[in-house]
Subunit: 370 residues, 2 copies
Amino acid sequence: MEGDTITDLCTPALVVDVDIVKRNAQRMTERFLKMGVQLRPHMKTHKTLECADIMTGGSRRCIVVSTLAEASFYADHGFDDILYAYSVPFDKVERSAALSERLTLFQVLLDHPDALEQLRKRPLRDRRPWHVWLKLDCGNGRAGILHSEPEAMQLAQAISETEGVELTGVYAHCGNTYNCRGIEEIQAVAQETTTFVLQFMDKLKAVGISCKSSIGSTPSCSHPVKDMACLSEVHPGNYVFYDVQQSVIGSCSLEDVAVRVLTRVIGHCPHRNQLLIDCGWTGISLDGAGKLPTGYAMIEGQPNLKLVSMTQEHGRVEPISDMLDHSKYPLGSLLTLIPYHSCATASMHPVYHIHSGGRLVGKWLPARGW
Amino acid sequence: MEGDTITDLCTPALVVDVDIVKRNAQRMTERFLKMGVQLRPHMKTHKTLECADIMTGGSRRCIVVSTLAEASFYADHGFDDILYAYSVPFDKVERSAALSERLTLFQVLLDHPDALEQLRKRPLRDRRPWHVWLKLDCGNGRAGILHSEPEAMQLAQAISETEGVELTGVYAHCGNTYNCRGIEEIQAVAQETTTFVLQFMDKLKAVGISCKSSIGSTPSCSHPVKDMACLSEVHPGNYVFYDVQQSVIGSCSLEDVAVRVLTRVIGHCPHRNQLLIDCGWTGISLDGAGKLPTGYAMIEGQPNLKLVSMTQEHGRVEPISDMLDHSKYPLGSLLTLIPYHSCATASMHPVYHIHSGGRLVGKWLPARGW
C-alpha cells in the first residue's frame, strides 16, 4: 500500500526508485537537448505508461517500441508519433496498417525489399503514406541491411520511389556497444556507427534523397560523441533503469541503477555452505549467466555473496570465499538484488513497485505479449 | 480466433496441443490410480484453470502450487485442497492464514523450527489447525531438512506436538532426477527418495506419529518404482506439457511434448550464414543454454538448425553444418520451436493458444506473480 515501505512488500518484488528514474531521464533529455538532437526514448525496458510519461516529459509523443503489443498499448493511452523499430513482420502488416491509419504518426522499419513489397500491397486509406525507416546494420550483427552493400542504397531508393510509402529515416542500433568496457571503447563504436550513418546520408543526398537519421543504444547515448549532433534522433531505452551490465560496460555507475529485486532468506544449508532465497528465475531472469563474479546479480552491500544458481522459485546463494555465518542472515531477512539486465528482469514481473526513498508511492503495470 | 489454424497466429506464440495434454494427464492419472497412490498434480508449469481442470479430472481438488499467487488464483475459482509446497515464507504467513481460514483444506510446508514458531504465533480462527507438511531433503540439495539428520525427526515431533498445528505429511521433491539420463537412472533416484521417505515414516511410526507421505518430480512419476505404491501421494507437474529436457532425461518421448513456440523468419543474413527469427528470450526464455546441440530449443523438422543466441525480440539461427540455403526459409515463413524447459517458456507468455490438430480451440490465461 502507498505509504508503506518497500520492506513491507511480499517477495520477490521488483522495486523501482522513481527519483533515480527521473534523474536518469532528465540527464538524457538535457544531454540531447544541448546537442540539438531529438531524443526518441525506447519503451522496451519498462513498457509502462508512467515511465513513458517521465521519459517523454509528459508529451506522450516521440517514442520507440519493440513489439506491436507495446505500440497498441501506448496508442490506446493517447501516445502518438510511435516508431515500431522492428523489421516489419509480414504477419503484422495489417495491424501496423491499422495503427498507421489511426494515429497521426505511426512509423515502421524494414531491411528487405520483400517487406517493402508487403507495404506496397497494402496501401493505407486516405492516401496516407507508410512512414518507413530503413534499418542499417553498421556493425551490430543482428537485424538491418549492411550499410556497406550496394543493396542498402538500392533499398533506400526503392522506398523513396514506391507509391504510398515514404522514406522517413535511416536507423541503426549500435548494440555492439554491449561488448565495450569503458567510455573510450563505447565512444569508438558510437563514432563508427555515426560515421557510417552520416556517410550513408551523404550518399542519399547525392541522389537527391533527404530523410532523418537515428542511432541508439544506452551506452552510446550515455557517452555521445560530437558527431552525433549531426543526427536527427537518438533512441536509447535501458538508461531509464540502467543495471549492473551497463555499469560494467561503463554507461553508468551503480548509483544510477533504479531497479532492485527484493528477496528473503528462506533456507539455511550449512552443510552446503549456502543460503536459499525466494527469488528464482521467475523473479530475476536467467540473463547474465557466467558474466559476474557475484553470479546472476549483485547482492547489495554483500560483496562476498554470489547467486550461484536458480530454479523456478528458489535461488542458491553462497559466499565467494570462506564459510557463511548463517546467523547474519536469519530466515525471513531481506536481501536486495541488483539485476544484471533490467530489461530481462522487468519482463518477469507483472507489477513494478515504485518508491521514493524507500516509501511506496505506486505501482506500474507493464504491457506484455506481442 | 477459434476455428483458425495455429499458422494464422501472430508470432511468437505459445501453442498447446490439448489432445497431448489430455493424454499426458490421463496416463499419469491412470498410472497412480492403478498403484493406489493419490495423484496431487503440481500447477507451476502452466498456472491455468483449464489445464488444472484436465489434471484434476474436473474435481478442482487436490493440487500443489509453487506460489501464493497461484494458491489465491485457484482458491478464487473454486479449487480446494491446495498444498502450497514452498517452505512457508515468513512474509506470507498472514496470507497463508487467510487461505487456511477460507478453504476447507489449505496446506503449507516447512523445513525449519523458526517457521513452526511463526505458525504457532498465528493461531487460526475457530480452532482450525494449520495443516503442515514437513519438507525433507532426500538428496535433491535445494530446500528441506536433511532426512538423515536427527533434527528432521525432532522437527516432525515438534510439529505434531504444537498446539494449533497438525503434521499432515512428509514431502520430498526428487529434483535430482533432472540429472539422470534414462529410465534406469531415474528409477535409482526414485527408489532412493522413496526408501528414505519410507524409512522416515517408519521412524515416525515408532514414536507414535502417523501422517501422509509424498514424493514427486516428473521423471520419477513418469517411471515409478514399485515401492512408490507405499506412499500416500505423488506430486509431479511438468508431465502435462513435458519438453525437450524431459525427453533428454528419459521421462517421455518428443511425441509427448504438448507445447511449441511458433516463430517466423524475419531476416536473412547470408554474410553470417544465419537467419533471424522473431523469437527472442521474451518468447522462449534463456533456460537450456549450452544444453542441446540445437541451442536454446529444437526446431521441429529442422535437425540441422541451431538457435545459437537471442536478444529481447530476436533469435539467431544457423546451421549446425554447411551453408544455409536461405531460399528454403523465405521471410515470413514459420518455424516451430520445441522448448527445452516448458515451465520457463510458459512463464514468458501472457496467453497460451490452445489447439486440437492445429485448429485453435481457445486461449488459456495463466496466473502470474507471487
